[in-house]
Symmetry: C2
Subunit: 297 residues, 2 copies
C-alpha cells in the first residue's frame, strides 16, 4: 500500500464516480480502477459497491475513509514537525556555567530569552567548575557553557566572547584600607591572598596572579577557596584579601567591602564555550541568542 492508493481512494469516495475521480487526479480511468482494485485486494475488503450509476462506499469503505483522512492529516503534521525540527524548535540544550559567571546579568538574560524564543527545547542547567565544563563540552555531555576563559582558546573548544568585567578588591571591613573609595593593587603588597584553586579555573587564576605582578606585587596565597563565590566569605573571616569580578560584589556578605581598583587592573572575561563540531541547530540558535543579547546592549 502506498499513499497514492489512499489519495485515489479518497478521490473516488468523494466523487462517487471513477471517471470523474480519474479526471480530478489527472490520470485515465482504467489505471484508477486498477489501483483501487489493488488496494481492495491488499485489504481483502471491498471498499466500493460498483453501481450502474457510479460507485458508492461500502461500510468497510466508510470506516476506512474516516481513518485515511486522519493519515493525511498526520502526514502533513509530520512535514510541519520536520520543518520545525530543522528550525531548532525541539530537542534539548544542556547549558553549564561556572559559579562566578552566573553573577553577570547577561547569563540569566540570555537563558531567559532563549527559553522564550524556543519554549519546546528542554533546557538543562548545571553549575560546574571551568575544568569540568570544558571536559563535558569535549565529551559532548553539555552543549554550551558560560566560562571565564584565558586569552587563548582552549584546545578543541570554540569560544565566543560575551563580556569583560572589571575586577574589584575584597577586603574585610576591619582592614586598614576598607574605608577608601578605590585602591591600587600595589597597596596590597605582602597581604595574604584568598584565591580559588588553579585547577578549577586556571585562566582567571593566571589573570589575577599576572595582574598583581604587573602592579609590582608578588602575590602570596594565604588561603585556597573551594570556589570563587566563597572567596568573599573567607575574606570576611580575615583569612586574607582578594580580587573578584565586579558582578560578584552583588553577593551580600557581611564583614567585607568591595573596592574598585585604581590603575592597571586584571579584567575577567566571560565567554560561551561550545564544541567546534556541534552542528546542532539548537546550539546554533543558542549562540544566535547570545549574539542578539550582546547587540542589544
Amino acid at each position: 500500500m502506498e499513499l497514492r492508493h489512499l489519495r485515489y481512494f479518497i478521490a473516488v469516495a468523494e466523487e462517487g464516480n471513477f471517471r470523474r475521480a480519474a479526471e480530478r487526479i489527472g490520470i485515465a480511468q482504467p489505471p484508477l480502477s486498477s489501483q483501487i482494485k489493488d488496494l481492495e485486494d491488499e485489504l481483502e475488503v471491498q471498499l466500493f459497491r460498483r453501481l450502474p450509476r457510479g460507485a458508492a462506499l461500502t461500510e468497510a469503505g466508510e470506516a476506512f475513509l474516516a481513518e485515511v483522512i486522519v493519515i493525511f492529516r498526520q502526514v502533513e503534521f509530520a512535514k510541519q514537525m520536520a520543518l520545525r525540527g530543522a528550525a531548532g524548535e525541539f530537542g534539548r540544550l544542556r547549558i553549564g556555567f561556572t559559579g562566578s559567571a552566573a553573577f553577570n546579568e547577561l547569563v540569566p538574560k540570555i537563558i531567559r530569552s532563549f527559553r522564550k524564543a524556543y519554549p519546546s527545547v528542554a533546557l538543562t542547567l548545571a553549575e560546574l567548575n571551568t575544568r569540568q565544563l570544558l571536559d563535558q563540552i569535549r565529551s559532548r555531555s553539555i552543549d554550551a557553557a558560560f566560562i571565564r576563559p584565558g586569552p587563548t582558546s582552549p584546545d578543541g573548544i570554540k569560544i565566543t566572547m560575551v563580556a569583560e568585567e572589571p575586577m574589584m578588591v575584597v577586603l574585610p571591613t576591619g582592614h586598614r584600607l576598607a574605608k577608601e573609595y578605590a585602591i591600587p593593587l600595589s597597596s596590597l603588597q605582602d597581604e595574604p591572598l584568598v584565591l580559588h584553586s588553579r585547577e578549577l579555573g586556571p585562566d582567571l587564576y593566571d589573570e589575577v596572579i599576572e595582574g598583581f605582578r604587573r602592579s609590582g606585587v608578588d602575590p602570596v596565597i594565604g588561603q585556597i577557596a573551594p570556589q570563587i563565590t566563597s572567596i568573599a566569605n573567607l575574606v570576611a573571616v580575615e583569612l586574607g584579601v582578594s580580587i573578584v569580578p565586579a558582578p560578584l560584589s552583588a553577593i551580600n556578605v557581611p564583614g567585607v567591602v568591595f573596592l574598585p581598583i585604581i590603575g592597571d587592573a586584571p579584567r575577567a572575561r566571560l565567554a560561551v564555550a561550545t564544541h567546534p563540531d556541534d552542528h546542532s541547530v539548537v546550539t546554533r540558535n543558542f549562540k544566535q541568542q547570545v549574539a542578539t543579547n550582546l547587540q542589544k546592549r
Copy 2:
C-alpha cells in the same frame, strides 16, 4: 511522497546506516540513497547527517521520525477499521415496528441481542403503522420493520417470518360471556366489533374479518380504533367486542377480559420487512440476529 519513502526513512533511522538499512529492506544501497534524497528534496529539509561512519538523524529527522511512526500506526488502524466496517460493526440501523408487534417478546429480545452483538451500531427505533413502515422501507428511510403481514409478500418488500400468534377475544367484564374460559367466534354473532382502520394494517384487518366469516359470523364494525393497542380500551367502555393477538393481553386494561378462541381462529403473523436491494452488512447482521433468536426458541 509515498509510504515507501517513509518505510525507508524509518529503516535508515533505525539502522543508522544506509547499507544495513538497504539490506534490511531488501534492496541495494544506491536506490535507497536515491529515495531518501527524494524525500529530503520534497520536504526541503535534511533528515540525515551523512557521517563517514554511517548516518545520523538531524533534529528535523528526529522530529519527523516521531510523527512518521504515528502515520504507520494510523495506517494499521485504518486497515483494522475497514475490516471491522466490513463485519458490520459500525454504521446505523433504523428499525420500525407496529404498536402491536412490540408486544411479542421476540421483538425486544432480538433488538437487545443485536445491541449486545454490535454495540457500535447506532440504533433508531420508530413506532409507525404498517402502511407507513412499508413506505419507509421502500424509500429506504428505515432499514427493517416488525410488521404484521398478510399471506402474500407486499410489493418490493422482503419478508422474513418471525412468529405466528393465536388471537384472543376481548370482552368487557360485564359481558354475558366474560365468565367463560374460552369461546368460539360463532358465539359473537351480531356483537358490534371494535377494530383498527383497514388503512393502518390491511393484512391483520382482513385476517380478522376472514376469520369471523369462516366461523359463520358476518362481522359488524361498531367502532374504528385509532390503533390496535387501543382496542382493549374501547372494549372496556363497552363500545363492542374484538379479537387481538394473544401477546396484547399483557396490557393491563381494567374492565376487559381476554379469552382463548375455541376452534378455527384467525392467527396473527409477525415478520421482519426489509428492502430487497439492501446489501448493507448491518442489515444482514440484523437479519442474522433474527434468525438466531428464532432457532434458540
